[in-house]
């Protein structure tokens, strides 16, 4: 079946009234749980699993997939308005989205995020259809050494974003990596820094960390400050709409973000986190005025949002073409199929074309629904900011607690949020970047396991990082990036010294 025939066939599947209803249900619920801080796909799957037993497998998959990418749209809302990211991807969005909201430009930030998300998703679908075969080969060609080299490049490239002093940025990345060490060591089974708590054996809950560092810390810091400012004036429709200058700043960051997101999303593992951080780092690097970043730059929202939405789409590449779920949540969604006797695998495209093409077309329909659903909601979200903060923040705290609890039903995690929130407040006061801590926390364990795995597989030969072509490419790129940064720093130093004379 050619791609065109497939797409036509897919329309036949996805436009069935019942399937359409489940698609709408999925994306609506996805937006909703995305807006609720911390509530993630896990809670949605528990909620929807019983329903999936009674509907066709393609409707079930389309609905669950709708939740998966719909949550990406919603996730930006809490990040921009309240600095409450539920995932590391949306943590990147807080860097410029939240300052924009504080400047009274929340509407523009939300609009930018929606449009970029839409661009990222739609182009992601094109990439999925056109390059699925190539991307799936890339996914199996990547070995442990390649992953390790790639993650190290990502870490180096992104390790100074959002930090006023590079040293403080590096310290946060390393601190995050140390926190990532907590739990059972994958290679030896040894318990590291678990202090006898079984709840820590799987590590610190990522959502608890993100919520504590950003949300709770922000609440503590704002209880007094927010009251002093007068409640923002009602925003007129005109102020909500982006200016011509804003619109000009969206397309290219969105395209670059899409490119990054499409590629990294297809690699099993951390695609979307890495791509949104890299998209942000890239925008800052190519910008003629990097000093605007962190203070409300439109590009800082557009790039990462396009990246993580494109990644959410191409994340289905290994799942659909290889039958290998790219992340644990995807694996759980597939569980719903297995119970229908559908075994996702390399042959699914041939054996069950209605699943593949129906899903691909539903991505397009779902994203259109999301855009239609979300654009009118912008006004409502923005008006939420007019509620005095004293009414808002106790509710935020409760929602954060239940969001964190929803991940794995552990009260321990709520207690952890309290502790992390306190630490996050102190770190924020001393102006250490929580986003970099989160980056280190996510990438650290992946670098460690892949590096150690690569050394085990190569029987201890470090040359593997230069012998494997992919790893070699990343290693050279990392070295080049470090050299360029040092050279730039030296140039700045010299020119400053000359100015001093």
């Amino acid at each position: 079946m050619s791609a065109w025939e497939g797409i036509l066939y897919g329309f036949g599947v996805a436009l069935q009234p019942a399937v359409l209803v489940y698609c709408l249900l999925g994306v609506t619920l996805g937006t909703f749980i995305g807006v609720l801080p911390g509530i993630g796909a896990m809670a949605a799957i528990s909620l929807l699993l019983p329903i999936t037993f009674y509907i066709t497998p393609e409707a079930a998959l389309i609905m669950l997939a709708g939740v998966y990418y719909g949550a990406q749209y919603g996730g930006a809302v809490a990040s921009i308005l309240l600095r409450l990211p539920g995932t590391p991807q949306s943590a990147v969005t807080t860097l410029d989205g939240y300052p924009m909201a504080q400047q009274g430009r929340a509407g523009v930030a939300l609009f930018t995020s929606m449009i970029s998300s839409f661009i990222g998703s739609i182009l992601g679908i094109v990439v999925l259809v056109v390059l699925a075969g190539w991307l799936s080969r890339a996914a199996t060609a990547f070995g442990a050494a390649d992953y390790a080299a790639m993650m190290i490049l990502g870490l180096v490239a992104a390790s100074t974003i959002g930090a006023e002093r590079p040293m403080k940025g590096f310290a946060m990345v390393v601190f995050g990596m140390i926190l990532g060490c907590i739990g059972t060591d994958v290679n030896s089974g040894a318990q590291r820094f678990t202090f006898g708590q079984t709840e820590l054996m799987d590590g610190i809950n990522l959502v608890a960390l993100a919520m504590g560092l950003f949300g709770v810390a922000e609440v503590i810091g704002n209880i007094r400050n927010a009251e002093r400012q007068a409640a923002p004036e009602p925003v007129s429709l005109r102020q909500m709409m982006p200016t011509r200058d804003d619109l000009r700043r969206i397309p290219f960051p969105a395209l670059r973000g899409t490119a990054l997101g499409s590629f990294f999303g297809a690699l099993p593992g951390t695609g979307s986190t890495l791509s949104s951080f890299l998209a942000y780092a890239m925008e800052r690097r190519v910008s003629r005025s990097p000093e605007r970043f962190g203070k409300g730059a439109v590009e800082g929202v557009a790039g990462p949002e396009a990246a993580n939405n494109a990644a959410a789409i191409t994340a289905f590449v290994p799942t659909l073409t290889l039958g290998i779920p790219g992340d644990p949540i995807m694996a759980l969604m597939l569980g719903a199929l297995v119970i229908h006797g559908v075994q996702p695998g390399p042959l699914m495209l041939e054996a069950r074309p209605e699943m593949f093409w129906g899903l691909v077309v539903s991505f397009g329909i779902g994203n259109l629904l999301l855009l239609i659903l979300n654009l009118p909601l912008i006004g409502i979200w923005v008006s939420m900011l007019r509620i005095p903060f004293r009414y808002l923040y106790p509710a935020i705290l409760i929602f954060v607690c239940l969001g964190v609890y929803s991940v794995r039903g552990a009260s321990f995690d709520i207690a952890a949020v309290a502790l992390i929130g306190m630490a996050g407040y102190l770190l924020a006061l001393a102006r250490f970047s929580p986003a970099l801590l989160l980056l280190g926390f996510v990438l650290g364990p992946l670098i460690e396991t892949n590096l150690r795995r690569a050394m085990l597989i190569s029987r201890g030969d470090p040359m593997v990082f230069l012998e494997r072509p992919i790893a070699c490419g990343f290693t050279i790129a990392t070295a080049a990036l470090i050299l360029v940064s040092i050279w730039q720093a030296w140039r700045r130093h010299v020119s400053k010294a000359e100015e001093g004379k």
Binding site: L36, I39, A43, L47, M167, K168, F170, A171, V174, F175, M177, I178, C181, D185, N187, S188, A190, R192, F193, V216, I220, G221, I223, R224, E227, R390, Y391, Y393, P394, A395, L397, I398, F399, V400, C401, L402, Y405, S406, G409, S411, I414, A415, V417, A418, G421, M422, L426, L427, L429, A430, R431, F432, G444, E448, R452, M455, L456, R459, G460, P462
Partner: protein, 148 residues
Amino acid sequence: MNRDWADICGGAVLALLGLGVAINAGLRLDFGTLRAMGPGFFPTVLGAMLALLGAGVAVPAWRRGAKPVTIRWGDAAAVIAAILIFGLGMSRLGVVLACFLAVLIASLPAPHPGWRWRLVLACAVTVLTYIVFILGLRMSLPVWPRLP
């Protein structure tokens, strides 16, 4: 003297933490070899790095002035207490009571006098929580207090 105390303290705490992690991991976890890195390899190396970076943040800050920061311990305590009451009390008190208490405690530091709005807020948030999480998301949570 008006030094950059935020960086001095922040850097020092991170340095000590890094040192502690490195020593703890070095003593208790197997370091391994380059071929077969043990569970202690990364924590030890990362801890040492954090110790150096922390010192790198703290030492230059000694010769630098900065606006002093004030830590609002009261606000922090109320927020932390609210979260802990909710998190640890939920299984016994049930979501409704735990939520009501947590909101009351969280609202204490808000600089707006009066009790009535706090009680109304606690009721409102509790109702909202019940609607969203129990009715909407059907999370499996104890709703009412469990009598002994």
